[in-house]
């Protein structure tokens, strides 16, 4: 059972850490600052008005969302805000906002890191491949000479 836990927890923690590192900065900025794209992100039904962040996330009715909401701004006040009755359909959609992403140096660092890890994996596998050629050949021969499947 310990192996089970390890195999789930270790890659899971790695995945979370990487995702958090990779998108955390961008997500924070997305939530806190007005994104140029958010202001111009109009689906054809709303006026394109560059506004401060709170207004930028008000999709539809023009009501201003209270600034400083502690939940994800990308989900703020979707659609019609608070004034339109439910069931109004999908015609007044919100704008998902996008992050600015990390700095170019950080991007380069992360991409280099991935390249290095992948390169290392390929190198180790390459060395092991030459060492285990005999075992692979034995397995192949065993398969070829095995009795027919029943």
């Amino acid at each position: 059972m310990h192996r089970v836990a390890r195999l789930i927890v270790v890659p899971g923690a790695g995945l979370l850490l990487a995702l958090g590192l990779a998108s955390g900065a961008g997500a924070d900025e997305r939530h806190a600052t007005p994104s140029p794209s958010a202001a111009t992100h109009d689906h054809g039904e709303h006026a394109v008005v560059p506004t401060p962040s709170a207004e930028a996330h008000d999709h539809g009715t023009g009501t201003t969302a209270p600034a400083g909401d502690d939940h994800d701004d990308s989900h703020d006040d979707h659609g019609t805000g608070t004034t339109e009755p439910a069931g109004g359909g999908h015609d007044d959609h919100g704008t998902s906002v996008a992050g600015t992403g990390p700095e170019p140096d950080t991007r380069l660092l992360v991409l280099s890191g991935f390249a290095a890890v992948n390169g290392l994996v390929l190198m180790v596998a390459s060395v092991q491949r030459s060492r285990t050629a005999g075992a692979r050949e034995r397995r192949r021969t065993a398969r070829a000479t095995a009795p027919p499947a029943v």
């Binding site: 089970v4 195999l7 789930i8 899971g12 995945l15 990487a18 995702l19 958090g20 990779a22 998108s23 961008g26 997500a27 794209s37 992100h41 689906h43 054809g44 999709h59 539809g60 502690d70 939940h71 994800d72 990308s74 989900h75 703020d76 006040d77 979707h78 659609g79 805000g81 339109e84 439910a86 069931g87 109004g88 359909g89 999908h90 015609d91 007044d92 959609h93 919100g94 704008t95 998902s96 906002v97 996008a98 992050g99 992403g101 990390p102 991007r107 992360v110 991409l111 991935f114 992948n118 994996v121 390929l122 596998a125 390459s126 491949r129 398969r143 070829a144 095995a146 027919p148 499947a149």
Partner: protein
């Protein structure tokens, strides 16, 4: 090899341990064009190459393109076009995406170059689906907490992490071990593929006379082995078949058929349902619910209510609670129905869950497609314009969608109705295939029908509310 089946032999005279075999459907291999295509050395490369090219463009755009999801062609291609089309493909052609998936192709290339080809660890064979279940939940949770879909860079990171995992798996393990045992999308597509309208099966009469040493499984000098470790002769479901046609090329007796069947019919012919796959079916329903909920205008109110009730202010913690509840609701409802049924059909709760949890899959797919249909039809034009912007075409458009709100809603309700009907029918057929007495059938179908109805109403209610766009 995998976890033992939950359904054992029994002396209960009212129980059909082995459900009736699925009738052989029309064999598409009788069509010369289909047979030639699948036997051709160009299959599946003819689809893999363009898919790999598009994948390269998507990855490049996500990692180096505009930071705004709305302006990023990678986000548009990945989340507004590809992701919504994917479940539709599963219903029509089963797991065929996995055969053209660039990650599978990458795994093959790495294996060819440096593959050590170690046997898949027993742990993965036994618990791989649970790892997939956990990953699927984790990735969905991470998406909402860190905004992976809304951030091109975040989406790019997911692709890079998957790339590294695929390279490692291809380098050290046999065949496409990652696709079979670790890929969360593979787990999803495996579950959805059970409803596919086509299925690869071997002709048992021809196989009984075969002397080829399982060429369909092991491959030959000129064709590769089954990438997903499936032996056509004994396969009973399509969860682990990606229609790569390797077995068709290897089989010296032309015993492999591509059968057309009624969508979802596999669900009531399953002999060895597995709890982990059934759990995934229920968890996916929870994921569909939370995906819908987070895009509704009522979502901030839900979060506020949770925050007020619990006193928790951290948004990630509040979301985690909502996420846990959303996933727990369908899982809990199916568990409850299984417990209720167990008291009446004289089988254990676990056996009931493993078998009848599969009945949720058609409704899962319907909810999944209906949700994504909104993105595809209401943002599709904007997404295409964003992609066309890469080649200098003016990306401005007066309307981002290709269908009106009313049309989309009608389609969504139709899909939910269809999914509900298919789920109810599947539950009924499963009970009828398994029990002989009317009372036992009725007491089994009833609780699951109630769960399906509750989940259908929940889905329908959500599609009535205004929803936010993805890009």
């Amino acid at each position: 090899m995998t976890a033992p089946p939950l359904v054992e032999t029994t002396t209960d005279p009212d129980l059909d341990v082995v459900p009736p075999p699925a009738p052989a459907g029309y064999d598409l291999m009788q069509h010369r064009v289909v047979a030639r295509l699948l036997r051709s050395r160009w299959w599946p490369q003819v689809l893999q190459v363009p898919a790999a090219a598009v994948f390269g463009l998507v990855a490049y755009q996500l990692l180096t393109g505009p930071s705004s999801a709305h302006d990023n062609a990678g986000t548009a291609l990945m989340w507004v076009i590809w992701w919504p089309l994917l479940p539709i493909l599963f219903v029509v052609l089963g797991r065929v995406w996995c055969t053209i998936c660039p990650f599978g192709w990458l795994s093959d290339q790495v294996q060819r170059l440096v593959g050590v080809e170690r046997p898949v660890p027993r742990f993965l064979k036994r618990y791989g689906i649970w790892v997939i279940d956990a990953q699927f939940l984790l990735i969905t949770w991470a998406d909402h907490v860190w905004g992976v879909v809304a951030s091109p860079w975040g989406s790019g990171m997911v692709l890079l992490l998957l790339t590294t995992a695929v390279i490692a798996s291809g380098a050290f393990l046999q065949r496409r071990a990652f696709c079979r045992y670790l890929c969360f999308l593979g787990g999803l597509s495996g579950n959805y593929a059970r409803t596919g309208a086509v299925a690869l099966r071997a002709d048992p009469e021809i196989c009984a006379t075969c002397t080829s040493r399982a060429a369909c499984y092991n491959g030959t000098d000129t064709t590769s082995a089954c990438p997903l470790f499936t032996f056509p002769r004994t396969m009973e479901d399509s969860a682990d078949c990606n229609l790569c046609a390797s077995c068709i090329k290897s089989c010296p007796n032309d015993a492999i058929q591509i059968q057309v069947r009624p969508p979802s019919s596999e669900l009531w012919h399953l002999r060895t349902p597995r709890l982990e796959a059934s759990f995934l079916a229920a968890a996916i329903m929870g994921i569909v619910l939370i995906q819908n909920l987070t895009m509704l205008s009522v979502w901030p109110d839900v979060l506020d209510a949770i925050g007020r009730t619990t006193g928790i202010t951290a948004s990630a913690a509040v979301f985690t609670m909502a996420f846990a509840v959303a996933v727990a609701v369908p899982v809990g409802l199916v568990a409850l129905a299984s417990h209720w049924a167990a008291g009446r059909n004289l089988e254990s709760t676990v056996v009931n869950f493993a078998r009848f949890g599969f009945a949720l899959i058609p409704l899962d797919i319907a909810g999944h497609i209906a949700h994504n249909l909104f993105h595809l039809l209401s943002e599709g034009k904007a997404a295409v314009m964003t992609v066309l912007g890469l080649v200098g075409v003016d990306g401005s458009t007066t309307s981002p969608g290709v269908a009106s709100t009313g049309t989309i809603q009608v389609l969504q309700y139709a899909l939910i109705a269809l999914g509900t009907a298919a789920s109810l029918y599947a539950a009924r057929r499963m009970a009828h295939g398994r029990y002989r007495s009317a009372a036992r059938r009725r007491s089994t179908v009833l609780p699951y029908a109630a769960v399906i109805a509750v989940l259908a109403v929940l889905n329908a209610w959500m599609f009535a509310l205004p929803m936010a766009h993805r890009i």
